[in-house]
Symmetry: C2
Subunit: 106 residues, 2 copies
């Protein structure tokens, strides 16, 4: 499973690189962290916008990219929309990049 164990196949690379691509923007990385680090792993969009010097449409665009990459999910509750992190994909990416300790056995 880790990248260092065996070569990532073409299909898997396409799928996984899409997730990394979504993480490849400082605003999106901070957005994901803001969402994931909150108690309950959820955040309202209104709480996220204030952390950036960007327009609301731009934040909305970045959240959509994160959602389409499968890194977050969203749910509307009344007036506000809440985003939550998806731990499954995060763990998968984390394992992919993991580097076994120098002397670790197979």
């Amino acid at each position: 499973m880790p990248l260092v164990r065996e070569p990532v196949g073409s299909a898997a690379a396409t799928e996984l690189s899409a997730a990394f691509k979504a993480l490849g923007d400082p605003v999106r990385l901070r957005l994901l962290s803001l969402i994931a680090s909150r108690d309950g792993g959820e955040a309202c969009v209104c709480e996220l916008t204030d952390s950036f010097d960007l327009s609301a449409p731009t934040i909305s665009h970045h959240l959509r990219v994160l959602r389409e990459a499968g890194l977050v999910g969203s749910e509307r509750r009344g007036t506000w929309v809440h985003y939550r992190a998806e731990p499954t994909l995060l763990r998968r990416l984390s394992e992919l990049l993991a580097v076994p300790a120098a002397g670790s056995v197979a």
Copy 2:
């Protein structure tokens, strides 16, 4: 350190997202995996080119992106250039994406 523990700062996000951006292409992800999964963690460029249906300059371009992101290093030995993975940055990214188990204590 993990993304879910506390919000990633602006400066750290800029630095880390640059690495994820480099991983955000299927060719580069496979290249890194091909390099890292080889015995000794090294690979010659000539061995990498054959795995793709791309021109040599394109492979060279992707290797440069990986190098400038700090994910690989390169060294010329005679006629051939060898690339090796950088485990330190890989581990840092892996830890960043790690999601503690549900019942884990702080």
